[in-house]
C-alpha cells in the first residue's frame, strides 16, 4: 500500500489547486489510502510488452480548413464570469508593480 502521508495529500492539493481544511486532509488521507490499496491489485498483472491505450476506438487526427463563421460576442463570452469589466475577465493582480 502506498504511503499516503499528510505531506503527500498537501502536495497533491497544491498541484490540484484545491484548498483543503485540516479535517478534509485527514478524510482524504484515509479515503485515498483505501482506494489506492484496492488499486494495488493491478501490480500483480503482467503487462510486459503491453502498450497502454488512452483511446479505444481507432482514430487519427481530424483536419479541416479554417472557416470564417459566427461566434460568440464578447458580451456573451464574459456573461458568466463572476467578475468582469467591459470585455475582460477580472482577476487579482498577478504582476508586481
Amino acid at each position: 500500500m502506498p504511503d499516503v502521508s499528510r505531506e503527500v495529500v498537501e502536495h497533491v492539493s497544491m498541484l490540484a489547486r484545491l484548498a483543503l481544511s485540516s479535517e478534509e486532509i485527514n478524510r482524504l488521507q484515509h479515503e485515498m489510502g483505501r482506494i489506492l490499496e484496492h488499486a494495488d491489485k493491478l501490480q500483480a498483472v503482467n503487462t510486459d510488452d503491453i502498450p497502454g491505450i488512452s483511446h479505444v476506438i481507432p482514430m487519427t487526427n481530424v483536419y479541416r480548413e479554417d472557416q470564417v463563421g459566427p461566434s460568440l460576442t464578447p458580451e456573451e463570452v464574459v456573461a458568466n464570469a463572476p467578475e468582469s469589466a467591459d470585455e475582460f475577465f477580472k482577476v487579482p493582480r498577478t504582476v508586481e508593480e
Partner: protein
C-alpha cells in the same frame, strides 16, 4: 406479449397501428379522461408520436399533460433541478403550427424530453449538480440537445444528477436527493438518477443521460427502464460537461427499446464539433428491430455472474438468458479474466481524466468564485475550487492528480492504461465468437437512501458490471427483466463497437416476448 402494437418500420411510423387504434379515442381532449383510456403520461414516445402524427392530440396537449403529471408527483420524486415549462410549451406550439402547415415532421416531434443537467442548454441553467456551476447559463446547446430541439422535442427540464456525474445514487448532487419512483425510500441509481426517475414517474416519456462507468444503464436498471450507452464516438460529446473524456458517452433512457431506437436515430452521427465523434454510417435503428434473433450467439462472462451478484438478481438474469435461448439464440459461458481488474483501472483512469478536465473550473471565466480575501490568483483558484466542489469531486480530483503526479504516474495511471488494453483484448476475443454478451447491469436492486452514502468503495461496487463496457468503448443496453423485492432488475446486453443495432434487436425481441418493460411504478 399482447400489449405491443404491430411493428411498423420507421418510414411507416406515422401510420396508426391497428392494435391500439382504439386506445387513443379518448385522448383528443388532453389529459382529462377516465375509465379505461390510457393517460398521455403513461404512453411511450412512439405511441405519443403516432397520436401526434394522426392529429388525435396536439404537442401542446401532450406537453401540458406531462407538466400536469410533474405538478402531481415531482414533490415526491425530486427528479428535476430546473423546469422549463414556458420554453417547452413554446416549442410545442411551434410543432403544432408546423404540423398544421402540412410540414412533414419526424416521429418524435412534439414528444417531451428530460435533459440531464450535465448537458449544456442555451440560456437555461446548467449546474452539473454542482454549486460550482450554480447560476451558469451556457451560451450554446450541446449537440445532443440541439438535435432534440431540431427534432421538435420540447425540453421539460434539467434532471438531477450526482455532482459532475460522479456517483451511482444521485445522492452526491449538491442540490437535492432524488427518489426512486418504485420505492421513495430507495435511490434511483446514478449518476443519471434524475433522468431515470423522471421517466419512471411519467414526468417525461424519455430523457437523456450520460454514461462514464454505468451512469445511464445502472439507473435505468434500478428504475425499470431501457437505457443505452452507445459506442464511444457514436454520439457527439460537444456540450457534455466532461468527466472522463475517453469514457463519457451521452445516450437515452426510455420505456422500451423501440423508443431507444427512435432517440438514437436523432442522436447518432458525426459532429464537426467533436473530433472524437465517429465518421461511421448510422443505420435506421428502428428498421433494425426485426424481432428475429435466431442464430445469434451470446456469451455470458463468468466474471460478471460470480461474487458480488445478489443470488436473486443472478437467478433473474439466468431466467432472462433462458428466455433469449428460447427465441433461438445460442448461449455459452465465456472467460474474460482481465475484466476482474476493471474497477481499479476505472478509478485510476477516470479520476486522472477528471482531474485534468475539472482544472477549467477556476472561478475566473464562469462558476463559483470565493468571497474570502485572496493573496494572489493561485489562492483565488484554490479557494474557489475548495468551496465550489463537493466532497466526492474533491476526492476524485485528488486521486487523479496523485495518479498523474511525478513518481506515481507509471505505477498508477500508466499501469491502468496497460491493463485497460488487456480488458479490451478480452472483449475483442469474446466478440470474435459471439454477437452479444449478457450480464446483470447492477449486482443488486436499488439500495436504500443513505445506505451506502458514507462508503465510497462500497458505492463503486454498484458499477462492477457496467464499468468494463466503458473501458472497452463498446455499446451496452439495459432492459428490465424481472423483479426482486418488488424492485426492477435489469439485463445488460453488450455489443461490438457500433453494434447498437444488434443489441437493440436483441433487447426488442426480448421485450416482444416479455412484459417487464410495461410495468409502471405506482406513485
Amino acid at each position: 406479449m399482447k400489449s405491443v402494437p404491430a411493428r411498423v418500420s420507421a418510414t411507416q411510423g406515422t401510420a396508426k397501428t391497428t392494435a391500439q387504434a382504439g386506445a387513443g379515442a379518448g385522448l383528443s381532449n388532453g389529459n382529462s379522461h377516465g375509465g379505461n383510456t390510457v393517460k398521455l403520461h403513461e404512453l411511450t414516445a412512439y405511441e405519443l408520436g403516432e397520436r401526434l402524427a394522426s392529429g388525435e392530440v396536439s404537442a401542446v396537449e401532450v406537453t401540458e399533460a406531462h407538466f400536469a403529471r410533474i405538478d402531481e408527483v415531482e414533490g415526491k420524486v425530486d427528479a428535476f433541478l430546473a423546469l422549463t415549462r414556458d420554453e417547452a410549451l413554446e416549442q410545442a406550439r411551434q410543432v403544432d403550427d408546423l404540423r398544421s402547415g402540412a410540414e412533414k415532421l419526424g416521429p418524435l416531434a412534439g414528444v417531451p424530453i428530460g435533459i440531464k443537467d450535465v448537458l449544456c442548454t442555451r440560456g437555461v441553467p446548467t449546474t452539473c449538480g454542482s454549486k460550482m456551476l450554480e447560476g451558469f447559463r451556457p451560451p450554446y446547446d450541446a449537440t445532443t440537445v440541439r438535435r432534440c430541439r431540431d427534432a421538435g422535442m420540447p425540453m421539460v427540464g434539467k434532471t438531477n444528477m450526482d455532482e459532475f456525474a460522479m456517483g451511482s445514487s444521485t445522492e452526491n448532487s449538491a442540490y437535492k436527493v432524488t427518489r426512486n419512483p418504485w420505492d421513495l425510500d430507495r435511490v434511483p441509481g446514478g449518476s443519471s438518477g434524475g433522468s431515470a426517475a423522471c421517466v419512471a414517474a411519467g414526468e417525461a416519456p424519455i430523457a437523456l443521460g450520460s454514461d462514464t462507468g454505468g451512469s445511464i444503464r445502472q439507473p435505468a436498471s434500478l428504475c425499470g427502464l431501457t437505457g443505452l450507452k452507445p459506442t464511444y464516438g457514436r454520439v457527439s460529446r460537444y456540450g457534455l460537461i466532461a468527466y472522463a473524456s475517453s469514457l463519457d458517452q451521452p445516450g437515452p433512457l426510455t420505456r422500451d427499446v423501440r423508443d431507444c431506437a427512435l432517440v438514437m436515430n436523432v442522436l447518432a452521427g458525426r459532429d464537426q464539433r467533436d473530433a472524437t465523434s465517429a465518421d461511421v454510417p448510422v443505420p435506421d435503428y428502428v428498421a433494425g428491430l426485426t424481432g428475429d434473433v435466431s442464430g445469434l450467439s451470446a456469451g455470458v462472462p463468468k466474471e460478471l455472474m460470480g461474487e458480488g451478484i445478489d443470488p436473486q438478481v443472478k437467478a433473474t438474469i439466468e431466467a432472462a438468458i433462458a428466455e433469449l435461448e428460447g427465441l433461438g439464440m445460442s448461449v455459452e459461458e465465456v472467460e474474460m479474466p482481465n475484466v476482474d481488474y476493471s474497477l481499479p483501472v476505472y478509478y485510476l483512469i477516470a479520476t486522472a481524466e477528471a482531474a485534468s478536465n475539472l482544472a477549467r473550473f477556476d472561478g475566473v471565466r464562469y462558476g463559483h468564485r470565493t468571497e474570502e480575501p485572496v493573496e494572489d490568483v493561485y489562492d483565488l483558484f484554490a479557494k474557489s475550487r475548495g468551496e465550489g466542489f463537493g466532497p466526492e469531486v474533491r476526492l476524485r480530483i485528488m486521486l487523479g492528480t496523485f495518479g498523474l503526479s511525478a513518481g506515481y504516474y507509471e505505477a498508477y495511471y500508466g499501469k491502468a492504461q496497460k491493463v485497460r488494453t488487456l480488458i479490451k483484448r478480452d472483449f475483442d476475443a469474446a466478440f470474435e465468437r459471439h454477437d452479444v454478451l449478457l450480464s446483470p447491469t447492477s449486482p443488486t436492486v436499488a439500495f436504500g437512501i443513505g445506505e451506502k452514502a458514507d462508503d465510497p468503495l462500497q458505492m463503486k461496487l454498484a458499477d462492477i458490471c457496467t464499468i468494463p463496457v466503458n473501458l472497452a468503448g463498446i455499446p451496452a443496453l439495459n432492459v428490465p427483466c424481472g423483479m426482486v423485492d418488488a424492485m426492477p432488475v435489469g439485463l445488460q446486453i453488450m455489443g461490438r463497437p457500433f453494434g447498437e443495432d444488434t443489441i437493440m434487436r436483441v433487447g426488442d425481441a426480448y421485450q416482444q416476448a416479455t412484459d417487464w418493460h410495461t410495468k409502471r411504478a405506482e406513485l
